[in-house]
């Protein structure tokens, strides 16, 4: 009898917990639901009380690509292209630097690291204005290079990687050294594979960060077909923003890559954040 009571008690608890969590989750997901449904409506239906479209207008998604002055496909490509470059450079150089900071001993290392740390405090805005002047000097305004380079090296990435690498046991280095491995091999074959969660975390953060970046492309890019999605969406909104259904289709499509990345990588990401985060 008591066994049964415990069963039903636990059951009630589980159900109520699920109910609460479900309600929270649904509330958070509602805007996305509306977005998808609105993107399938004809324009006149948008203001209706019912969220459901009478007939699903799947062609709205196609229309986004064929609109004049809206180079949606191109923007998509540009964004992914630029973000990939930034992410690659960021992850690669940061991990090298972090390796140097965490596992090599050299004179002045800690001072240099302190400099890195100190700049992390700076608001990004401080650097934007002079950076723009530099871009003018280098002739990189309105170019992909100008979009990629300033974002590709950050103190944050180095910091995150270093924190993680500090926790990889030092004994591995010694063992490798006894085997006659060079530092280069140590980096590639020992430390990097072990730093995988941090690599993934940094990859995702950087990718999402540059995928969403608005400020820098906004001031830097001029030619419409070199736009990235955020400024592309902005100009879509300002030129044809009243067409809510198309706009929502565009929004949905620009959110999709992020959701896909998240679902694919979430295990690693959660692990990375949990391992590296608090110690910052």
């Amino acid at each position: 009898m008591q066994e049964k009571n415990r069963f039903w008690g636990g059951f009630a608890k589980l159900v109520s917990l699920n109910v609460v969590l479900t309600l929270m989750a649904v509330l958070l997901v509602l805007p996305f639901t509306w977005m998808i449904l609105a993107s399938l409506k004809v324009l006149d239906e948008i203001g209706y009380d019912s969220w459901l479209p009478e007939v699903c207008q799947w062609h709205n998604y196609r229309d986004v690509f064929t609109r004049k002055g809206i180079f949606f496909g191109r923007w998509y490509w540009n964004t992914v292209f630029v973000s990939c470059w930034i992410t690659f450079l960021q992850v690669f150089t940061s991990s090298l630097a972090a390796f140097s900071f965490s596992r090599l001993r050299w004179k002045g290392r800690d001072k240099v690291f302190f400099l890195y740390l100190a700049t992390m405090m700076l608001p990004g805005l401080v650097m934007m204005i002079p950076n723009y002047q530099n871009m003018i000097l280098l002739g990189l305004v309105d170019s992909y290079t100008g979009l990629i380079l300033p974002a590709a090296f950050s103190a944050f990435g180095t910091f995150l990687m270093r924190q993680f690498m500090m926790n990889i046991p030092k004994s591995l280095d010694e063992a490798a050294e006894i085997d006659g491995a060079t530092k280069w091999q140590l980096y590639w074959d020992v430390v990097l594979p072990l730093a995988r969660p941090a690599l993934v975390t940094l990859t995702i953060f950087t990718f999402i960060g540059s995928y969403n970046n608005l400020f820098w492309p906004l001031v830097l890019m001029k030619t419409p077909d070199k736009y990235t999605l955020p400024i592309g969406m902005l100009s879509f909104q300002s030129s044809q923003g009243q067409e809510t259904n198309l706009l929502m289709a565009a929004v949905a499509m620009s959110v999709v890559p992020m959701i896909v990345i998240f679902i694919l990588m979430q295990k690693q990401l959660v692990k990375g954040i949990m391992l590296g985060g608090v110690k910052g």
Partner: protein, 516 residues
């Protein structure tokens, strides 16, 4: 200090690994940094110094900063930046709640239980659909949509457990950017956005209720203020107790006292007739002034009691207490700061009650707000959106990590003592999470100081009438909009100064707080 051959070799290898990163770092961080400091003290503006024209740039010392502080709009933008940070405690609390819920036992529910849940739920859903089909309720489509959404999440969640919910919670944060801001702009559309569409019938239903309680509104308002005052007194008592227990030094209690007094002063100021008169809002004056004396009196009483107790303790009793002067500052910032925000919200609610009768008596009854196109609602609208994104953020994950680090023995011991869940939380979980909370708060404040650009640019263009222009957006309009680079740099360095203070605060007190 000669360097040995090995030193040199080590240096070469070390720098070699660092090289790719540090070159970029120097070029795109350090050099601009130095340039920026220089620019902040010059009259660099694009009208005189550009691609086609290079007049000499003159060094103007602190002119830009003087200009900044004499700019009539600056206080507003500065205030906006801080106002937008009101969302932080709510967001963090949301994350904490989400983390606590997610941390509850999912695993122990064995498969049999889960199966039962799933089966029952499916049955409930099917019967819901059946019911809908038979009764043909109004707006059937919407009902089916909602039921299937809730049911779908429920079933998925019961099967998948934690992971499913965590993923769903994390979506808003993960996707935040221009796209979701555009989405919210549409959600907020006053006449046909889904938010107001949903609010309208609700408010229509509420109108008679509001009219009904109209006579009592004033009393409710005053009642709320009493709650504010009592809460304030509680905070004072708590501070004094902490002081007595040697957990907070005098800096901390002064800080705490001032922070917790602010909402009361604010309430007083808000209804103060002189202030309303300055703003030239005679109608508003008539609306509120009848409460003004009450509020003044109430707030004075509470402030008097609070400060009286405090000063009495401080000057007569406190001498006996020996506590390190800067102890417990972290605590007073977080707890008292959050309490302040909560109390401010209560004061706001009280104001709502006072205006409620007029609003309900209007011809159309209660109407939903115009959100981003309304001066007063624009900021709250952005805050709500921020809250949506903040619940399932990295903070939630950090809390989850923190929760998994809480030793189970503590809970077991508490269970033996027969502690209630509430006590368990305040005595075990909260102190154990304090370092996480502190870290999150500091990061959020630093982020908040620099924030608001994207939202303002996408949703409001800083308007209406500058109500959503934060410092970051101001820097953009000044630097890139009108080309006053020197001035914009000066603003950005002011921003830096604030971030610097917060960071220093973190370094100085963060560790002490978390290690205790």
């Amino acid at each position: 200090m000669a360097m040995t051959k090995k030193d040199v070799k080590d240096l070469a290898i070390g720098v070699g690994f660092l090289l790719p990163n540090i070159l970029g770092f120097l070029a795109f961080t350090v050099i601009p940094l130095v340039m920026s400091i220089y620019m902040a003290f010059t009259d660099w503006n694009l009208e005189m110094h550009n691609y086609f024209r290079s007049e000499p740039i003159s060094f103007v010392w602190f002119d830009n900063f003087v200009k900044l502080f004499s700019d009539p709009d600056f206080p507003q933008y500065f205030g906006n930046t801080f106002f937008m940070m009101i969302g932080i405690p709510f967001g963090v609390a949301g994350s904490l709640v989400a983390a606590l819920l997610l941390n509850m036992d999912f695993v122990k529910g064995d498969n049999r239980k889960r199966l039962t849940v799933t089966m029952i739920l499916t049955a409930v859903m099917v019967s819901c659909f059946g019911l809908l089909a038979v009764l043909g309720l109004g707006g059937t489509g919407m009902m089916i949509l909602m039921v299937s959404l809730v049911g779908g999440v429920f079933i998925l969640g019961s099967i998948g457990g934690k992971t499913v919910y965590r993923t769903l919670f994390y979506f808003p944060y993960f996707t935040a950017g221009v796209a979701t801001y555009i989405l919210w702009k549409k959600l907020y559309s006053p006449e046909n956005g889904p938010i107001n569409n949903a609010l309208r019938p609700l408010l229509d239903a509420l109108t008679p209720v509001a009219i009904l309680i109209s006579p009592a509104c004033e009393a409710i308002g005053i009642g709320l203020l009493v709650v504010v005052g009592l809460f304030y007194l509680c905070m004072v008592r708590r501070k004094l107790r902490l002081w007595r227990d040697g957990e907070s030094g005098s800096v901390s209690i002064w800080l705490g006292m001032i922070l917790s007094s602010l909402p009361l002063v604010f309430a007083w100021w808000w209804v103060s007739p002189t202030w309303l008169h300055i703003a030239g809002k005679e109608e508003a004056l008539s609306l509120l002034s009848r409460n003004a004396n009450w509020v003044l009196l109430l707030m004075l009483i509470f402030l008097g009691i609070g400060w009286g107790r405090f000063l009495y303790n401080f000057f007569f009793v406190g001498r006996k207490y020996t506590c390190i002067i800067d102890r417990g500052i972290g605590d007073s910032t977080i707890v008292d700061g959050s309490a302040m925000v909560l109390n401010m919200a209560l004061v706001g609610l009280c104001c709502v009650f006072w205006i409620l009768p007029e609003m309900a008596a209007a011809e159309e009854g209660l109407t939903p707000p115009n959100w981003t196109s309304d001066y007063y609602w624009a900021k709250p609208a952005l805050l709500i959106m921020g809250f949506w994104g903040a619940i399932g953020s990295n903070n939630m994950l950090l809390y989850l990590a923190g929760l998994s680090g809480v030793p189970q023995e503590l809970y077991e011991a508490a269970d033996i003592d027969g502690a209630t869940p509430w006590q368990r939380f305040w005595n075990i979980t909260w102190p154990q999470l304090s370092n996480v909370t502190f870290f999150i708060m500091i990061m959020a404040v630093i982020g908040g100081l620099q924030g608001g650009f994207d939202m303002a640019r996408v949703m409001t263009d800083g308007g209406p009438a500058g109500s959503t222009t934060t410092l970051a957006y101001y820097i953009y309009t000044q630097g890139f909009g009108t080309g006053r680079l020197g001035y914009a740099s000066a603003v950005s360095w002011l921003l830096f100064l604030m971030v610097f203070i917060v960071t220093m605060f973190n370094w100085k007190f963060g560790n002490r707080y978390t290690n205790e």
